[in-house]
Amino acid sequence: MVETLSERLHAAADGTPEDHFDPATVIRAGRGRVLRRRAALGGAALATLAVVGGVPLALAGGGGDGDGAPASPPPAERLTLDDASPAVEGRDYVVERTVRSADTEASGGPFVRGITPDGTTVLQRYPHGVERTQESEVGLAPPGGEVRWLAAPPGLGNYAGTAGADLVFEDGGDESDGSVAGFWLFEAQRGRWRAWTDDRGSLVMFDTSAGPVAAGSDQVLTTNGPTFQGPRTQLFRTSTAPGSALAPFATAGNVAQRGTTYAYTDTLARPNHEVTVGDLAAGRTVSFDPHTGDCRQIGVGLAADAVVVTTNCAIGDDPNAMTDIVDHIDVFDLDGRPLASLTGDQLGPVATSDRWLTVKTREEGRAGVYAYSFDDGRLLRLTDRESSYTGDAAGAGDRLVWERPVDGDHGVAFTVARMR
């Protein structure tokens, strides 16, 4: 009898050692990733390719040193997580608020979803647990003040930023692929919710894989439909005022906005060779090559005076591999001059606020949350623990929010602090 290669492979794999598999561990990890991802999609978090997440195996290796490394790395200050100093309370930051949620699956939060430009902490909780995310409440906590809880519309997703006087929240959409069916607006002055519609009465659609909706300005750049797989989508200029038309603006990959300043990449999820920075009010634009080579474009962020481009050089050329984990974070000024480059194995999610960038990592020995100052180049390690249940609520101004696991990683504690 002639044995085949197939039979030999089957024979080789038949010596299977005993497997102690509990599907609950997968479900727990999956829920954590969904929650983490959903939170990452909110606020002024860096735009992500979203979805399936990186490879949370205990991997070693230098990000971007392989085949996919940038062809011409920018001559910026080179940083790794090992350059970080432990952040010291009182010296580097002052804690304004701590929000603790024990056993988040049972309690349903609260989760800190972001900070508004006026310093209000935005929270969300699920009274019936995280399995019933259709029902939630939103909490607004001004600096030093008590939390005011509001009943939220069914299926409300994460806080996505502010537009004029409105707080923008995602519709729950499909939590598996990051697509969002539309938006809810909370008119803070009137204390009421309304759906965001355009001049034809249609819901403004959006895909958070392209980027956050906006921050600050009443003029908003948005997509109007799912992009999900990239590499480009149509950007529209509009506002949250009732009946505003959607005016085609540009085609783009990732997009970020802060006030009237915007930045977008040429592609999403593919190698990207152009970043455009502009101002909606002044109309001026600057385009530059971020020199990220063949690395996969993952996100773009915008600070007060800096643009952040994140890429994954190790993910390879599999078009189906999707991640919000990056290995390169390149910082440029608004004219495209390179300022800094932070590399690591499993960086992300990444969030950009006005003056600080925060990045998480699960790297063995380096796990935790880090903050980089756009003002003075400080790299601080805010905590040496990373919660598997939490997301990426972005800060605003000099306020940052970060998390640490509690209750054996069944729960999470959020710290809202003013950085110094």
């Binding site: 038949d14 479900i27 990890a29 490879v55 991997l59 990000g63 598996s176 050329d317």
Partner: protein, 175 residues
């Protein structure tokens, strides 16, 4: 997902894991790593579960794609800093097999170890998972031509091992 969906997913995970783990073992040569890769694949399936149902994509096929993708990611990461790679992994990955002569199995696993990740994936997907060229290309995210050429190169490499010549000759006939 709702609790009902969780139960459906758990049923799928329990059924799919053994095969995923074996595929991952043939790719990695390490049962521990194989377990991690299978776990990662199932987590990705969990996250994508509603979309998979809506899109009508085969869940098993997606899970296998995730496992292979996780394996290739792993090799890229590891190759950046830690060499040698698979030799150590394969050595500590050995377990006592049943009737299969250890020397022969070692020959096969050692020969697989010498292949690049994509060539190894082609061999495992084609001759263990019994996928056609088109399905293998879909899993690896490459063209059918690439699968054919990578498989041919892999078989040519395997042929250098005396114990495998007959097996490879039969496989080459089916290319």
């Amino acid at each position: 997902m709702r609790r009902r969906d969780d139960q459906e997913f758990a049923d799928f995970a329990v059924a799919a894991r053994p095969r995923l783990r074996r595929t991952a073992y043939l790719l990695s040569g390490d049962w521990e790593l194989a377990a991690d890769l299978a776990q990662e694949a199932l987590v990705r399936v969990y996250v994508a579960w509603p979309r998979l149902h809506r899109a009508g994509e085969g869940v098993h096929a997606y899970a296998r794609r995730c496992a292979v993708s996780a394996w290739i990611d792993w090799t890229r990461k590891r190759s950046n800093r830690e060499l040698p790679t698979s030799a150590e992994v394969l050595d500590r990955g050995q377990v006592e097999g049943p009737a299969e002569p250890l020397a022969v199995r070692d020959e096969l696993m050692g020969a697989l170890r010498e292949l690049g990740p994509r060539q190894r994936a082609c061999v495992v997907l084609r001759y263990y998972d019994d996928l056609g060229v088109a399905d293998t290309a879909r899993v690896l995210g490459c063209t059918e031509g690439t699968v054919k050429s990578q498989t041919a190169k892999a078989l040519a490499s395997l042929r250098r091992h005396l114990e495998l010549r007959d097996l490879v000759a039969a496989a080459e006939g089916g290319l």
